[in-house]
Each structure stands twice: as structure tokens, then as C-alpha cells.
Amino acid sequence: MKKIEAIIRRSQFEEVKNALHEAEIDFFTYWDVTGIGNEKAGSIFRAKVYETRFIQRRVISFVCRDHLTESAINAIIKSGRTGELGDGKIFISDIQESIRIRTGERGPESLFIKD
């Protein structure tokens, strides 16, 4: 089991969501984040430009079974890329254990719904 955490552009969110769906990732958590980086985002208030280093991104996080990891990563890279600076990053880590609260199932069994 792997945990995949990706920081992506908010504007690419719909594309990434659809691509993940095609890669059989149907459950994930996301939240909006603000970060500090090299990129400057300008804002105009009352005719003055304020340059800020506050950068708005969205974090997607999910745990998936090992055999789906590569296709999920590829899906994110393909759909989240615009080619410009600031497209984001993907982090992958191992997960020790996973338990479905409703049934008590453990391991990869708890990550998907059997037909």
C-alpha cells in the first residue's frame, strides 16, 4: 500500500480528478493550501500592484494498492502538467496498515469495495 500526496494547481483540479478516475482511483481527499515559494503572484488593489509570495494550490491525498501506484502517478503527471513553473509535486510513501472501520478488514482489502 502506498500513500500518494500531490500538490497541484487549482485550475488543473478537474482534469486530475477525471484522470485519476480513469486510473481506478475513485476515492481521495483534497484541501486548499496556501504556500510560500519563488513564484510571485501579483494583485491589484486601488490601482496599486501588490506582489505577494502567497501561492494558492490544492493538495490531493489518497492511499492505493501497490499495483495501481504507477498508473495513478502517471495520471497526475499527465493531467496536472501545464509546462510552466509551479505545476507542483508528488510525494509517495509506504503505509504500514489500513483498517476499514465498518467491517474491521485489514490491509489492501480495506481500500476497495469488492463486487
Partner: protein, 455 residues
């Protein structure tokens, strides 16, 4: 419906001349003063307030109604579009819009367009009496107040179309299109229906406060622009894109309801019984439409929704607009119930089937509501209110006249909107790029965000 004040001036001069001949000047001079059109301060005060009410419908009313319905990333774009409409169309109106709509020109074109006699409001003095009046026997308000009142109508009409192309239009394209549309579509139709020379006015088609001129006109333009512009990214018919702030939608709808009282009750151009009657009809229709929608929501969706009642109140107000000065409470009730049935069906069932992306239902509510209202005027016009009879009071010809006015407005507005929209597309481009649309028009068109994270 309207007469020119010149007739009264001429009558006054002739009277004065006769009195001079007879030699009893002092006695008759008094009579002459009384028959001359006099500015009535009560009516003037009401029309000034009503003008403010109608302005309030566009900003903040419509701005927040539409703004709440879009996604966070397009909020400012909607507010900006509504705001700029107020500013730009006001200038267009005093420059030549008023003259094209309510002026008169000589020759064969007179029934179709107003000409440029009143361009830049040339020759209109502060004490001139409005040449237009409805319930009184003569003009009672200053001409300038009439111009202002009508200015607010010219402002809100192109602003209504914003609902159709929201979230995906380029700002420059929108601006150019709206100015062209106000000049080439709104002004002529206002002239046909409301001007003394207008051919639909002479035909006898009834439109008290703008069912054809404002709502059908904007509603048809909405469907045309929505279809030409295409769907938003990630829009799936039937699924919809959720609104970002429902309290704003309610705030906007409430401001529209209040403002609409100025819109309709002001359209009698006097503070009198007809204004009160129009107020009552407007209020009752909005209430009836709201209740009907809530019942429909109970039946089809199991729960009464807040967006539902907000939409319904606007639909009711749209439908009663052309009829408000002609129907009694019964007519208003029927119009309110009818419009909710129609719009609920349009928005809930027809739109997902046809698959066009009218973002905020400008066509479903204003177009369909306006068509129903204009036709219903021909059904329910009561001789107890003004001297017009609808189909249900024994005059079928009134209904036929209403059908003619509706069909003509639909055709003219539809065709001209299509031409102007295509023209704008050629000149400056009309659709925002995929990237701009994804980022959101707030940031890509205005370089601002609505709910800023800068402390």
C-alpha cells in the same frame, strides 16, 4: 397611451389669443394656467425614488443574485460586469440611447427608430414636462426624471444577459457586445413598444413595464449567446455547477423583489391609484410564484429549496412585469402560479434534455417568464384597472396583439443578437481561453480574487 405635450401648449396659446380678443384676460388667464401641464411634486418624488429602486435592482441586486450563483473564482467578474453595465449604458443612454428609443424621427423610419433629435439630451430643460404619461391626462413629471427612470431600464436589460454566458466570456468581448446590443437591439424595441410613434404601440400591444422590451428581449439574447458561446468546461447537462454562496443569491433576489416595486409601480409615471394597483399585482404575483415553486419542490425534490424560492420570486416578478398595470389581483395570482409551473419545467426538465449551458438560467427564467407574462397580459387584462380587456374579459384581439409583439421581439432579438455576437467574436474574440476559464475569470480578467488571502 401617450400624447405629446405640444398639443397642450398650442391649445393654451389659442386660448390665450381668444381671451385677448374677448378682453376678459384676467378671468381666463387663470383657466389657461390650470390646463397647462404642471409638474406634480408628489409624482416626481415617487419617480425619483422608483429610479433609485430600479438602479438598486442591477447593483447590488442582480450583481449578488448572479454572483452568488457562480463559482468562487468568477464572483468578481460578475460584479464587475453588472457595475460596468450601469456606468457604460448610462453614458450610452444620455449620448444617443434615449433619443433612439423615445425620440422621434421623420419619414418612413419613424415607427421603427427614434432618430438623433434628443442626442446628448439636446434642448431638454429642467422644467420641461415629460411627453410620456400613462395614467394621468397629461405629463406630471419632469422630462429629465423620465429619462433617468428609463435609463435604469436600459441598464438592467443587457445586465440580465450576463446570466447566460457567465463564467466563460472575455471581458472585452462582453463589453463591446453589450454596448452594440443596447444600441441595436434594446433601443429599437423600446421605441416600437413604448414610444408615441412605435408601431407595436400603435398596434395596441400592451407592455406596462417591460415584458417584451426587457425580459423576452434579454431572455432570447441569453439563449442565443449561450448556444453560440458553447458549454463551460466540465459542464455536464443535468449535473450543473454548484453556486458558491447561496446567502448572496437570497440577498440579490430580495433586493430584486424590492427594486421591482419601483420598476412596475413606477411605470405608471405617477403616484396614483394605478401605481398602487401595480404594486399590489407585482407583490401578489411574486408571492404566488414563490409558493407554487415550493410546492413543486416538495413534490419533485422532497424538500423546499432556498435557491428554488429565490428563483421563483424572480420568475414571478418577470411574468407580472408587462401585466402589472392591466390586471387585478386574480390575474396576478394566475400569472404567478403559471410562471412557476412553466419555469420549473423549463429549468428542471427541458434544459438538461436540450443540453445548452445557460449558466444561471437567464433564458429559463427571464425568457420563458417574459413570454408567459406578455401572453397572459392578453388573457387577464381587466377593464377594472385600465381600459383594456383580455381574452377572459371578452376581447380576443388583445391576445392576438400580444402574440404578434412576442413573436416579433423573439425574431428580432434572436437574429440581431446572433449577428452582433458573431461580429464581436470576429473583432475582439468572445470566449475566454481554456486556461483562463480554469483559473477563473477573477484572476485572469481582473487580476483580483474575491476572497483574498492577503492579510
Amino acid at each position: 397611451m401617450c400624447m405629446n405635450s405640444n398639443k397642450f401648449k398650442k391649445a393654451g396659446i389659442i386660448l390665450l389669443f381668444l381671451t385677448g380678443l374677448i378682453g376678459k384676460v384676467s378671468v381666463f388667464a387663470q383657466a389657461v394656467v390650470e390646463t397647462k401641464p404642471v409638474i406634480d411634486t408628489g409624482s416626481t418624488a415617487w419617480l425619483i425614488v422608483a429610479s433609485c429602486f430600479v438602479l438598486m435592482m442591477t447593483i447590488p441586486g442582480l450583481a449578488f443574485f448572479y454572483g452568488g450563483l457562480v463559482r468562487t473564482k468568477n464572483m468578481l467578474n460578475i460584479l464587475m460586469q453588472c457595475f460596468i453595465m450601469v456606468a457604460v449604458i448610462t453614458l450610452q443612454w444620455v449620448m444617443f440611447g434615449y433619443s433612439l428609443s423615445f425620440g422621434s424621427c421623420k419619414g418612413a423610419l419613424a415607427p421603427y427608430i427614434g432618430g438623433f433629435d434628443w442626442a446628448f439630451l439636446k434642448g431638454i430643460g429642467i422644467n420641461d414636462v415629460s411627453p410620456y404619461f400613462i395614467s394621468q391626462s397629461t405629463g406630471r413629471i419632469p422630462h429629465l426624471v423620465f429619462i433617468l427612470f428609463q435609463c435604469m431600464f436600459a441598464v438592467i436589460t443587457p445586465a440580465l444577459i450576463i446570466g447566460a454566458f457567465a463564467e466563460r466570456i472575455k471581458f472585452s468581448g462582453f463589453l463591446l457586445f453589450s454596448i452594440l446590443w443596447a444600441t441595436i437591439v434594446y433601443d429599437p424595441i423600446a421605441h416600437w413598444v413604448w414610444s408615441t410613434d412605435g408601431w407595436l404601440a400603435k398596434l395596441g400591444a400592451l407592455d406596462f413595464a417591460g415584458g417584451t422590451v426587457v425580459h423576452i428581449n434579454a431572455g432570447i439574447a441569453a439563449i442565443v449567446t449561450a448556444v453560440v458561446l458553447g458549454k463551460r468546461k466540465n459542464y455536464y447537462p443535468g449535473a450543473g455547477i454548484p453556486p458558491h454562496n447561496i446567502p448572496f443569491v437570497v440577498l440579490g433576489a430580495a433586493l430584486l423583489w424590492i427594486g421591482w416595486i419601483g420598476f412596475n409601480a413606477g411605470s405608471g409615471l405617477a403616484a396614483d391609484g394605478l401605481a398602487g394597483s401595480a404594486f399590489l399585482a407585482t407583490h401578489v404575483a411574486a408571492a404566488a410564484a414563490s409558493v407554487t415553486w415550493v410546492i413543486l419542490d416538495y413534490i419533485f425534490n422532497k424538500k423546499p429549496t432556498v435557491i428554488g424560492i429565490a428563483t421563483a420570486s424572480v420568475a414571478g416578478l418577470v411574468a407580472i412585469t408587462p401585466a402589472s398595470g392591466f390586471v387585478d389581483v386574480f390575474g396576478a395570482l394566475m400569472i404567478g402560479i403559471g410562471v412557476s409551473l412553466l419555469c420549473f419545467y423549463m429549468v428542471g426538465f427541458v434544459k438538461p434534455k436540450l443540453g445548452y449551458d445557460d449558466s444561471l438560467d437567464a433564458f429559463g427564467v427571464h425568457g420563458m417568464g417574459g413570454i408567459w407574462g406578455a401572453l397572459a397580459t392578453g388573457l387577464f387584462a381587466s377593464p377594472l384597472i385600465q381600459n383594456y380587456k383580455g381574452l377572459f374579459y371578452g376581447d380576443a384581439s388583445q391576445f392576438v396583439k400580444q402574440i404578434i409583439a412576442v413573436v416579433v421581439t423573439i425574431l428580432y432579438s434572436g437574429i440581431m443578437t446572433w449577428i452582433l455576437f458573431k461580429l464581436t467574436d470576429k473583432l475582439v474574440g468572445i470566449r475566454a481561453s481554456d486556461k483562463e476559464e480554469s483559473i477563473g475569470l477573477d484572476l485572469s480578467e481582473h487580476k483580483e480574487v474575491a476572497y483574498t488571502n492577503v492579510d
